[in-house]
């Protein structure tokens, strides 16, 4: 049975339906990417899975349990967390206190403060600095570190490359090797198709709230992907 399984998911903002009967699955230990243009519904999907978005229909199963209507904090306690879009650090707290907040619920596992500093050595010197003063790349490291500190079984990442320089993106993506090694399953949301395909063993493409393409990235052609991404006809 997959670690995460979603069937017929619909999510609403008032009367507006952002997701239309979406389905996907993530196996334990797998890294899955979800790509799609701006407004396709990627963030909505993650907010629905983590319980932050509560106006929804369908079934979300995680680790064998139906979590469709479960409260967000209890879902997090069950081992699923997210690196939210735009990083969203606690702006009045220091780097280390941001990381500590991740460890606050006390889930056991390999991710501790020293482990995070080993993963992102740049953060060690910045530990007492106010999180709002960091550069974008440093903030993204703290946001990923904070999520890892919860010792998740499933980690969802929403556009962690957004607005960062290519060199920094490389540095940050390198951390996923260690994350995968520690046994964490990962879902990556990306607009950057190349990054998404390189990092994952399975990729879903979202278009206007529906899955427009799914498969192993090595078996998909760039042509197919771009047609599914932009909603145009694939041309031979």
């Amino acid at each position: 049975m997959p670690l995460l399984q979603i069937e017929d998911l619909e999510v609403f903002y008032g009367d507006f339906r952002a997701l239309h009967g979406l389905g996907l699955a993530v196996e334990e230990g797998q890294t899955v990417s979800i790509i799609g243009a701006n407004g396709a519904g990627k963030s909505t999907l993650l907010k629905a899975i983590t319980g932050l978005e509560r106006q929804k229909k369908g079934v979300i199963r995680y680790a064998g349990a139906d979590i469709t209507t479960m409260r967000a904090d209890l879902i997090a306690r069950a081992g699923m967390t997210m690196v939210p879009e735009g990083r969203r650090l606690f702006a009045t707290l220091s780097v280390e206190d941001n990381l500590r907040m991740g460890g606050a619920m006390g889930r056991k596992g390999p991710w501790t403060l020293p482990a995070i500093y080993a993963l992102f050595p740049a953060l060690q010197e910045l530990r007492d600095v106010n999180a709002a003063r960091l550069s974008g790349g440093q903030q993204q490291m703290v946001s990923i570190g904070r999520a890892l500190m919860t010792n998740p079984r499933l980690l969802l990442c929403d556009e962690i490359s957004l607005g960062l320089a290519p060199k920094i993106i490389q540095d940050i993506y390198r951390c996923f090797e260690a994350v995968k090694q520690s046994g964490v399953s990962v879902v990556l949301i990306e607009q950057n198709v190349t990054l998404a395909c390189a990092a994952a063993s399975y990729v879903y493409c979202l278009l206007e709230g529906r899955v427009s393409l799914a498969g192993d990235p090595r078996s998909l052609s760039m042509n197919e992907i771009s047609a599914a991404y932009f909603g145009t006809e694939a041309h031979p």
Partner: protein, 287 residues
């Protein structure tokens, strides 16, 4: 010399005003909620203090401890049973709710205690005084300032250095993200309202010892609280303390010039600050 005494008395009173503002400012800072009933809770706490005062003979100030504990529990109940139900993007339900609670509290107090003016007895402390460099000051007003200062410092320290304090600060920053880390933000809100009401209750009891109160005093208290928070700059801890001092000093100095002025000069300063520095003292310093 008389001016030094006057200003010192203004500072003593200002410490208490800061404490009155702290509950409101804390509630708004953490939950973005304006508790309209805060003023009436302050008065209710004074009545509870009045009822419990006979239990602490000889050490009148100790009565703030049981009153603060009772207020904390009331805060937990208020937030978990009522306010948490109306949270959302729309602020109006929460304002209406606390407005309704304020009216119920006020009329309940008139019903139970009558409309007479009361004061919490403090025994010999009431008229005790000390002198510094030939100037005489009341012991009680000075003690009240010290208590207010200690409470500000203690809350500030606790928010930064304790686990629960950090969780409250993080929840204030982003109540959605804390949920991704396993925090039940409603529970955090319950505790925050408990703390806010406990602080307000201490302010209420001290105010009831320094002066008098009736069931209708809540409106004045709420106004002072708003002015302190806005003069200080919303969200600024020590700005709020400075806001209280400014209000206290203005009021006492104003009364010296014009004994019938009441709170008028305080309101004028508040107005000027609202016009010329709408972000308050903290906003001025940040520039």
């Amino acid at each position: 010399m008389i001016w030094i005494e006057t200003i010192a008395n203004g500072i003593f009173l200002g410490g208490l005003y800061a404490l009155i503002g702290l509950g409101l400012g804390f509630t708004f800072g953490v939950m973005k909620i304006v508790n309209i009933a805060q003023g009436d809770f302050i008065v209710a706490a004074a009545f509870i203090g009045l009822a419990l005062a006979p239990w602490t003979p000889g050490a009148a100030l100790l009565v703030v401890i049981p009153v603060a504990i009772i207020a904390f529990l009331i805060g937990l109940a208020l937030q978990s049973l009522l306010i948490n139900r109306v949270l959302g993007k729309d602020q109006i339900p929460q304002i209406l709710l606390t407005f309704g609670i304020a009216i119920i509290l006020r009329n309940g107090m008139v019903e139970w205690f009558g409309a007479n003016s009361r004061s919490i007895p403090t025994g010999s402390l009431r008229f005790a005084s000390f002198s510094v460099g030939g100037l005489r000051f009341g012991v009680l007003p000075a003690l009240v300032l010290v208590i207010a200062l200690c409470l500000f410092a203690a809350l500030h320290w606790w928010l930064r250095h304790s686990r629960m304090g950090r969780t409250i600060v993080a929840t204030a920053d982003d109540y959605e993200v804390v949920q991704l880390l396993g925090v039940n933000y409603r529970r955090v809100y319950n505790i925050a309202t408990g703390i806010a009401l406990a602080l307000s209750a201490i302010a209420g009891v001290l105010l009831g010892m320094r002066g008098s109160f009736t069931p209708y005093s809540g409106v004045d208290r709420l106004l002072i609280a708003f002015e302190v928070v806005i003069i200080g700059g919303i969200g600024s801890f020590w700005g709020m303390f400075a806001g209280g001092l400014i209000l206290g000093v203005t009021q006492i100095v104003g009364l010296k010039f014009d004994p019938t002025a009441g709170l008028m000069y305080g309101h004028i300063v508040f107005f000027l600050i609202l016009i010329f520095a709408p972000m308050g003292i903290a906003g001025l310093l940040r520039r």
